[in-house]
């Protein structure tokens, strides 16, 4: 994809850290790094901006995320496959360079956009306060929103994951959602050991170095993408330690030299990553992990807000299925009353069921009943 880059590097594009060039070929190395950074900028600029995004990538500065060590001339590894693999990785590092765009630059417009979450996610006020506070601090340093460590604690269906995704969208940052409930080891985040034949880098390396697409479809060319650790309290604890890599990644100082187990010769600066974790039972987390987060308790929204949220859910469902013409623009008060007694997740499920039912019966009358309530809440079996 051809992309015109408005203002690129060499005019002193605001590199936060100037590359200490190699001794032998400094001019050539600097030129190559500049070209690699142009490649990264082009990729970043080529990704369609989300409509409500406020962070403008093209104006963003770039920061270094790794320092490539010199290849050892006489590798101790006798394994030719391992050497070839290292060569491939080094070629990738040369091609993509060490500079990444810094997304979500702190700016009053960004704070305004984040404030919009007070309306859409009223029960997340303390979390929004925290993020805006961080934005203010970043603004003081003319920096970007980096290093968020947010643990959202609350019952099922209060909208924790939705809030995290909405925030990522507002910040226009690549977002990687990792379901910790199905994670069995920390290899998903921190890579697997090189002694495994199928060793593979983890999500942090893939995102920061390879620029792989995050789950929300953006190319991750930024130094501060968002990682959402969903259901972090449900990580398997019978064997392995899915959270093992987090001890280093969540500590700002140690995160600057994070080493993926699959690429042990390369230290990555992962200190700018933003982390949002969700949990129902934070007490199940190890204290060392828990203390690294800013923990925020999220409750159900108040009734007035719930009614607004339910109407919002209804409108978005109508829009999603192109049913705006067929069904009334607003839910009836009685339907609202039924829905607000459930969690947001359940309310969405009930609304979908009601819409499906109405379509099946060829009617435009929406009947929301608790009959379609989730199985978990029905009292079945031994009580």
């Amino acid at each position: 994809m051809s992309t015109r880059i408005a203002k690129a590097l060499s005019t002193g594009r605001r590199h936060r850290e100037v590359a200490p060039a190699k001794a032998s070929e400094p001019r050539l190395d600097a030129l190559r790094e500049q070209i690699a950074a142009l490649r990264i900028l082009t990729e970043a600029a080529g990704v369609p901006e989300s409509p409500d995004a406020t962070a403008r990538r093209s104006d963003a500065p770039m920061v270094r995320v790794f320092q490539l060590p010199r290849a050892s001339s006489d590798s101790l590894s006798a394994d030719r496959d391992a050497q070839k693999r290292e060569e491939r990785i080094r070629a990738l590092l040369n091609e993509r360079g060490a500079l990444r765009v810094l997304g979500a630059l702190a700016h009053p417009e960004l704070a305004d956009a984040i404030s919009g979450l007070y309306r859409s996610h009223p029960n997340f006020k303390p979390a929004i306060d925290y993020v805006i506070g961080e934005e203010m601090l970043a603004r003081q340093k003319e920096d970007a929103l980096c290093g968020l460590r947010l643990l959202l604690v609350g019952g099922p269906g209060v909208g924790k994951t939705d809030f995290a995704l909405s925030l990522a969208k507002l910040l226009d940052l690549p977002c990687h959602v990792i379901s910790m409930s199905s994670a069995q080891s920390s290899s998903g985040l921190g890579g697997s050991e090189v002694h495994w034949g199928n060793t593979k880098p983890g999500a942090v390396f893939e995102c920061l170095i390879q620029g792989n697409v995050g789950n929300v479809g953006k190319v991750a060319n930024v130094a501060n993408p968002i990682f959402i650790l969903d259901e972090v309290d449900k990580a398997a604890d019978n064997w392995g330690d899915p959270l093992g890599a987090l001890y280093q990644l969540l500590e700002p100082k140690t995160a600057t030299t994070f080493v993926d187990k699959s690429v042990p010769w390369l230290a990555i600066d992962a200190s700018r990553l933003n982390w949002i974790a969700t949990a129902n039972q934070p007490e199940r987390l190890h204290e060392a992990i828990r203390s690294r987060f800013v923990e925020i308790l999220v409750g159900a929204p108040p009734e007035d807000n719930l009614r607004t949220l339910v109407q919002g859910l209804y409108s978005s469902l109508l829009e999603e299925f192109g049913l705006e013409e067929r069904f009334p623009a607003r839910l009836s008060r009685s339907a609202e009353t039924v829905l607000i007694s459930w969690s947001i997740r359940d309310a969405k499920r009930l609304l979908r069921a009601a819409l499906g039912h109405a379509l099946r019966n060829g009617t435009n009358e929406l009947v929301v009943t608790a009959d379609a309530a989730p199985a978990s809440d029905r009292r079945i079996g031994f009580v």
């Binding site: 880059i5 005019t11 050539l28 030129l31 080529g46």
Partner: protein
């Protein structure tokens, strides 16, 4: 009447007064054949025949031919150095194959290192063009300012930025030793 020129065509670059008389290709052929006389002892040992053979030499055509050979060599050096420099700039491989290509090129004949030096700045201009076009082909279209910056950076490259110290010492011993050489030459 002044003769109209066709500056965009190759003919213009190789025009010379001595080519404008008669059938130049036939004359070139005759000279080429005639030069073989000088390898024959029968000619070399007989002053009269040698005098006759020398008198048949078309010195203007000879000078023109050598000038053109020189021009060809220079053009080849400019083109090849531009390409090799661009390859070097864009090379992301671990083995740095572009360095080996430079080495093989310099090794081909003793004239090439000197030609590279003498035509260095011209080759850099073309090299910048190749790099910018290669970037455009891979989707990186630069605005004027960035393009200018890249061209300037490439324009500042020296041979010592592209070659290892060992290669510099081998092919450009005076440059490697710190001798800057004549002002018209560059690359060290």
């Amino acid at each position: 009447m002044a003769r109209k020129k066709n500056p965009s065509l190759r003919q213009e670059a190789f025009s010379h007064p001595c080519l404008e008389d008669g059938d130049a290709t036939e004359r070139i052929h005759q000279q080429w054949v005639g030069l073989y006389q000088f390898t024959s002892p029968a000619i070399l040992d007989e002053p009269e025949k040698l005098k006759q053979a020398v008198s048949e030499l078309d010195l203007d055509l000879m000078r023109c031919s050598l000038t053109m050979l020189r021009r060809h060599l220079e053009e080849a050096a400019i083109r090849d150095c531009a390409l090799l420099t661009a390859e070097r700039v864009l090379d992301t491989s671990v083995g740095q194959e572009s360095l080996e290509r430079w080495e093989r090129w310099l090794m081909a004949a003793p004239c090439w290192p000197r030609l590279a030096q003498e035509n260095w700045y011209q080759s850099l201009g073309k090299s910048a063009e190749i790099v910018v076009n290669a970037l455009a082909d891979s989707g990186i279209v630069l605005d004027d300012s960035t393009r200018g910056d890249i061209e300037r950076e490439i324009g500042m490259l020296q041979l010592s930025d592209l070659l290892t110290k060992e290669l510099m010492e081998r092919f450009f011993p005076r440059k490697a030793a710190g001798d800057e050489g004549t002002s018209g030459q560059a690359g060290g």
